[in-house]
Every structure is written in C-alpha cells, then in structure tokens.
C-alpha cells in the first residue's frame, strides 16, 4: 500500500491542478475571511465570522478531487495505471487516500489561516478557540474537506467525465440540498438527512431540530462517502478500463 500511496502522490503532484486548487481554495477562504473581518462593525468578531468562506474551499476541493480521477479517464492514463497495478481496488483506495489527505491539509490551512487573518484584524476574547464547538468549527474543516473529497473521487470514478462529475458535485450541495427544504411537509425531514447539510451541522453546531449530535453527524457524512466509494470500486472493477 505504501508503494501505491507513493505512486498516487507522484501522480497528483506532477500535474498543475492540485496546486491551482490549493491556491484557489486558500485564496478564497482566507480572502473572504479578510473581507468579513475588515468590513465588520457592531459587536466583536467571533470564531464563526472567520469561517464564512468555508464553502468556497469545500467546492474547490471537491472539484480538485473529482479531477484527480476524471483526468485519468480523460487522458486514458487510467489504463497505464491499471497496467502497472491491475488490482483496481487498491489503486483507487490509494488515490482516494492521497486526495483526502491533501484535502484535509488544505482544509486545516484554510481554516486556521482564516482564523489567524480575522484574529489579526480584530482579535478579541470572542475570537479565542476555547470550547469544543469552537474547535470543531475550525479544526473540523479539514475533516469535512477530506470526506467530501472521498465523495468526489467516488462520483468521478462512477461518472468518468469531468463536466458531468463537477456539475453533480456542485449542483448537489449548493442547489439540491437547499431546494429540498422547500417541499412542503416532508422537505425539512429530508433536508435533515442530506449529507452536506449534516456535515455543516458538525461544523456549525447542530441546533435544536437536528437528528444527530455533531460527531454522529460527521460519522453519517463519512458513511455516505464510504457507501459511494464502495459502489465506485465495484463498478470500476466490473468495467473495461
């Protein structure tokens, strides 16, 4: 497995897209935190203010993770990959792991970078990371990015096309999960179980109506990712490369 991880690490970092994505994700989240901090007036800045740009990074990381696999199909290097290592499950698990680690690192740098930025602008006692909720809100970002990237790799493997995979991965959390709420009667109940909504509750607190506590929410989000990953592995193994 270490061999495969090294292989996938080389593959990921010898193209430009992860660098660009990391740069964009950090620029957008930290830049947005700075915007929020600089324009803030009325009441002290809180930890929550520093993480307003979290979703920018999440979307960029999702796109990066999907591209890590769809470009392999696009340029048929997936064939060279399966030629070098015919055990497809191992290859894809290694790739997912490498992408998830990168996503986690981007998430942590983005979250703490945003926090440091707002703290530098106006660091009061409200900006201190003290409670468990504070820690989840900041340090939890890397975990959510990592799990989201697993979902992206799985969807990318299933769809195989950059355009399709990215459309699904952006439209789902940004549009579908929100619009579902509008369905009268059952909308809110469905919304409560939407994966990215649940992941958001891990970060921002569960609120009174949430069906699960924060860590259970994260576990649920991870469970969705695991199911998708397994489905993508089964399909990739059955399919011609």
């Amino acid at each position: 497995m270490t061999t495969l991880l090294a292989t996938e690490r080389i593959k990921l970092f010898t193209t430009r897209s992860p660098w660009w994505s990391a740069f964009l994700a950090l620029g957008l989240t930290i830049g947005f935190a700075a915007l929020v901090g600089l324009n803030h007036n009325g009441g002290p800045l809180t930890v929550e203010h520093s993480q307003f740009g979290m979703q920018f990074g999440l979307m960029v990381v999702s796109v990066m993770a999907a591209l890590a696999i769809t470009t392999e199909y696009r340029f048929a290097t997936i064939r060279a990959t399966f030629q070098a290592v015919p055990k497809r499950t191992s290859v894809l698990v290694a790739k997912t792991a490498v992408v998830a680690v990168l996503a986690a690192v981007i998430g942590e740098v983005a979250a703490f970078g945003s926090w440091v930025t707002t703290y530098a602008i106006d660091g009061g006692p409200e900006m201190a990371i003290t409670t468990g909720a504070d820690w989840r809100m900041v340090a939890g970002v890397g975990l959510v990015y990592a799990i989201a990237s697993v979902i992206s790799v799985a969807v990318g493997t299933l769809v195989r096309q950059s355009a399709g995979a990215i459309s699904i991965l952006l439209i789902w959390p940004l549009l579908v999960e929100n619009l579902v709420q509008l369905i009268p009667g059952i909308g809110d109940d469905i919304h409560d179980w939407m994966p990215f909504t649940v992941a958001g509750r891990f970060l921002n607190g569960t609120g009174p109506d949430a069906p699960m506590g924060p860590w259970a929410s994260l576990a649920y989000f991870a469970g969705v990712a695991a199911v998708l990953l397994v489905a993508s592995l089964v399909v990739a193994n059955k399919r011609d490369a």
Binding site: N41, G42, T70, A163, I166, S167, I171, L182, I183, P184
Partner: protein
C-alpha cells in the same frame, strides 16, 4: 444564416444538448410537480409563482449545456475545423451563442409552462390563471433568463476553454459567490444587489414588493433595486459585454 445552420447542426448532432435538455426539463417540471402535489391549502396555497420552484435547477443545467457547446469544441479541437471552415471568428461565435441561447429559451419556456401545466393538472381546484404582469414574468420570463444565462456561459466557455474550469466558475459563481457575498458585513447586501444573476432573477421573482411574499410562494425573490425590465436589460448588457470580451480574446488567440 448559413452560420446559424452550421452551429445548429453541430449542436444537435452530439448527445450532450439532448441530455441536458432532458435533465433540465425533468428536474424543473418534476420538482414543480412535487411542490404542487405536496402543497397544503391551509399553510401556503399554491399560486402561479410557486409552480416555478424548479427554476434554479433548469438554470444551472442549461448553463452547463451552453458551456459544453463551446468547451467540447476546444476539447476535441473541432474549433480549429470550425475556424478553418469560417475564418470570421466573431460571426461564428455570435452564431453559436445565438443558437445556444435559442435552445436555452425553448428549454426555459417548456420547463416553465410545463411546470405550470402540471401543477394545474395536479391541483385542478386551485386558480392558476396567469393574469398579472408579475405572473406572466414569473412563467414566461424563465426562457429569457435561461437564454441570457446561456450567452454568459458560452462567453465564459470561450474564455476558459476547459469544461471543468468553466462549469466550476459558473456554478460556484451562480450558487455560492452571489449568496455568500451577503455575509460580508456592511457592504455585503449592497454588493449582492448588483450581482448579475441576482439581477436576472428580478425578472422572474420580482414581485412589486418581494418582502411581503412568503417563502413558499415561489423561488427566492431577488433583492435587486432595479425594476424587473431594467434588471433584465442590465443582465443582457452584462451578457453582451462578456461575449464581446470573449470574442476579442478568441480573435487574438491562436485557435
């Protein structure tokens, strides 16, 4: 005219526009049906605007379709064949934008009237007659917004040339940047009022006084300060400027 025919043939001889059209219609009309079927007279009676809840789905799918119409030309290098056949690049790109916009408009109108029709069929007792100007805009305006958004998408596609990048920019802008901008303290709301897609939404969701409207009475209302028709005019100008920039860039660039 020839160019329009050329671009029409190119568009309809690949599968992606058909797929996108199908997905856009199924999502909008399907969601409209779902909303109509589950609507409760006691809480929020169904009205004309509320039949258009799926509007946002169709919009993003149509933009993906419009983006792919140009980025796949770069992807498969058919853009070179295109410019060989018709060296006048501005005409070619205008023709492509036109054809894509017409398709988007048609998809929009079918989606809007389809959603409205299916809602009427599901709830025959509810009065869904389109009477006021607002109601007309809420339904018939959808095609216009889709068409102009498709032009924006074609322009972004020409500028970026990669499907993944162009789609990511368009969707993240439309669905994330515009709403999140509101979170910036002090200036956020003012910036949001001038965001292009928010302005475009004014045509469809711009009740004379959106603040009085309940959430369940249609897609989220736009807070743009312009009136519905000036708003769509500004969005059209925005699309035209973007297309103009794209054409200038395409003209100067190696194909």
């Amino acid at each position: 005219m020839t160019l329009l025919a050329v671009e029409r043939i190119k568009l309809f001889t690949t599968r992606s526009p058909w797929w996108c059209t199908l997905i856009a219609l199924v999502l909008t009309i399907g969601f409209g049906a779902l909303m109509a079927g589950t609507s409760d007279e006691a809480i929020a009676p169904l009205n004309v605007a509320a039949t258009q809840f799926g509007y946002g789905f169709g919009l993003v799918v149509v933009m993906v379709m419009a983006t792919l119409a140009i980025t796949t030309e770069y992807r498969f290098s058919t853009i070179r064949a295109t410019f060989l056949a018709v060296p006048n690049r501005p005409s070619t790109l205008v023709a492509k934008a036109t054809v894509v916009a017409v398709l988007a408009a048609v998809v929009g109108e079918i989606a809007a009237f389809g959603s409205w029709g299916i809602a009427g069929a599901i709830k025959p007792n509810v009065d869904l007659a389109i009477n006021t100007a607002y109601e007309w805009r809420a339904v018939a305006g959808v095609g216009l917004v889709y068409a102009l958004s498709a032009v924006v998408a074609v322009a972004v596609g020409v500028l970026i040339r990669h499907s993944a990048g162009a789609i990511a920019v368009l969707l993240i802008w439309n669905q994330l940047v515009e709403p999140l901008v509101q979170l910036i303290p002090r200036v956020g709301d003012d910036i949001h009022k001038w965001m292009p897609f928010n302005i475009a939404n004014k045509l469809v969701t711009g009740n004379p006084d959106p603040t009085t409207r309940d959430v369940l009475q249609g897609p989220p209302p736009s807070d743009a300060v312009l009136g519905p028709w000036p708003a769509i005019g500004v969005f059209a100008a925005f699309a035209a400027v973007l297309l103009g920039i794209a054409i200038v860039v395409a003209n100067r660039r190696d194909a």
